[in-house]
Symmetry: C2
Subunit: 348 residues, 2 copies
DNA sequence: CTGAAAGCGCTTACAG
DNA sequence: CTGAAAGCGCTTACAG
């Protein structure tokens, strides 16, 4: 039965030193595998440490060494597929090399805003930070700088720090080109975001690429077919539904590209609910390859989220563990690929 | 530009003391709001601290005080809806009261096993732990005890510690009763788990309740209609598909209850793919009320995951902050409710 | 109300 | 190869 009143008494480095008949300095060196320790001494120390179930106190080590072996992972949301997958991959990569993740979920009440990083969240608490698709404010960038924290961005780049991401424009181009190659020219878009939502950038990049791809094929853009959305499936369903009911069958878009798979699910569901058949009445394509995309038969552009998390974690670990300085100009693109399933067909 | 080589030089308590013309002890007291400090002194200290942008080093504070103000959150997976939602809710509740979350994702290569908590993950690193649907091994329980760590469980109970959860049996009963009330008697089940999968318990409880509910209505259990599943939508789709193709239309189950919404999605998709209509050819009900359940029209038993995270976090914070000892016998049930949507209809 | 001092448990020059 | 000592930056009795 745990009892928070009774403090845990575990052995300290002093206990080990006494028991092994050496100084604490020697214990420290022996256990950390530093040289300048005789094999016999080391062996003895290790053995005693094991007997005593000794383990260096991370907090004492931190104070003395200046490193915490924890990295801050900061996200604007957590409950969406992309972010949860990222955190999971990062946590595993870091733990494999003795580091831990302190998690910050900056989600606010509304999609329009988010909380901000502050000194008390990071100062002496983490050795570095990984941002997940988070445009940093100038104040936040200044904070990282002042705290001298190495950082790497995933998704949305962070000025002055390396970044790993997919090529949003390219991914969107693949999605849109796929529709066009099937003969679609009446194509709607869901996932635009109002100008005041400044804490997410992905929407801008993808939308621009959509418009450019249309333009490259001489397809005129229909502003009223570019739908705003907070990137949830529910909102996507609503907006898609509104769009589809606005037009007669002949006037309607024949396809819709969603800037994320979750929105694509919403679009498919909306069509379904209106008695329209996907893909025959409406083709849908997304970006992500969400866990549910396979089962729902969604044609999409896959991004490897796990790989992005691993690359970012290892970049940071290189700086932390191997003194490989981070190159601020690094921009690592993880490739994407079109995954054809059942949600796209030629227009009727 | 961040430069990990240049160490951050921030002011320490000594700087503040010097500047304010008092001792470090006084600074410590003044800033922490302890009594026995004259108003003028306190004011002066606070002012100087602000000027110097001073902030106590958490690692030094930890070493001196013995508390880290971080709690370990440990989950068997992270990328599933239930867990991500829980982590998000917990992080917010903890941060609101000055605590942080150190995240442990114990997911292993296979669904059949998981990694284990060990001393080096927790010792002197966290003040307490919250487990997410995780049956603890005896060794892990002993570890918590040895480290004297207060802990609370969410979902799967943890012997000797309080727990917050839903009533699995009741939730499953609601789901199954709903089907029966609509006239179904040929009901399949998906979400059973082989006996060797010992690190998740929810499947057992739900399955038992399903069988009991059938029995209560005098409906014989068909073993071959109880489907194993690793609780992913993909596997659920496969198994459902196999089941549905095994039988002629007249011999088939008319409904299926899924032990989670993600599996329900799989079941719906499988039916759809076989040309069967949900709910007319096959009714489907789940448990959860996943973010996507609304858009997909799934009838389900809703559980309030956010509430579970908040209750657990506040329970732990009570022990940590207010010295309210944790009562090991506490079992808090968060209510569930049936949410009727479009995936259930009377059998043909 | 305030300060000097010990202590938290390590690491890291510095001697030897 | 090893130890004594200072130092990391706080908190906490203990005096006064």
């Amino acid at each position: 039965m745990s009892d928070s009143a009774r403090p845990a008494r575990m052995s300290t480095i002093t206990d080990v030193a006494r028991e092994a008949g050496v100084s604490v300095a020697t214990v420290s060196r022996a256990l950390r595998g530093l040289d300048r320790v005789s094999p016999e001494t080391r062996e003895k120390v290790i053995q005693v440490a094991e007997e005593l179930n000794y383990m260096a106190s991370p907090t004492a080590t931190s104070l003395a060494s200046g490193r915490t072996e924890v990295v801050g992972v900061v996200a604007p949301f957590l409950t969406r597929w992309f972010f949860a997958s990222l955190v999971s991959a990062i946590e595993k990569s870091l733990r494999a090399r003795g580091h831990h993740v302190l998690l910050f979920d900056l989600e606010d009440e509304s999609y329009d805003s988010r909380l901000h990083l502050s000194q008390n969240l990071l100062w002496r608490r983490v050795d570095g930070v990984i941002t997940l698709n988070l445009p940093m404010t100038d104040e936040e960038l200044a904070l990282l700088d002042r705290l001298a924290l190495p950082a790497v961005a995933i998704g949305t780049p962070m000025p002055g720090h390396p970044c790993v991401r997919i090529d949003d424009a390219d991914a969107m181009r693949q999605a849109t080109e796929h529709l066009i190659s099937q003969g679609h020219r009446r194509i709607a878009y869901i996932g635009a975001v109002p100008g005041n939502v400044a804490h997410v950038l992905t929407p801008q990049g993808r939308r621009r690429a959509f418009e450019e791809t249309l333009a490259a094929h001489g397809i005129p853009l229909r502003e009223e077919w570019v739908l705003n959305c907070d990137w949830t499936a529910d909102a996507a369903a609503e907006h898609t539904s509104a769009l589809l009911t606005c037009f007669s069958a002949a006037e309607r878009p024949t396809a819709i590209v969603a800037a994320s798979d979750e929105m694509a699910f919403g679009a498919m569901a909306a069509a379904h609910r209106l008695g329209l058949h996907v893909p025959d009445d409406l083709s849908v394509v997304g970006i992500d390859d969400h866990t549910l995309s396979n089962v729902l038969g969604l044609t999409t552009v896959r991004q490897d989220v796990e790989a992005q998390g691993q690359v970012a974690a290892n970049l940071l670990l290189g700086a932390l563990l191997d003194d490989q300085p981070l190159d601020p100009s690094v921009m690592t693109y993880v490739p994407t690929e079109l995954v054809v399933r059942d949600s796209v067909a030629p227009p009727r």
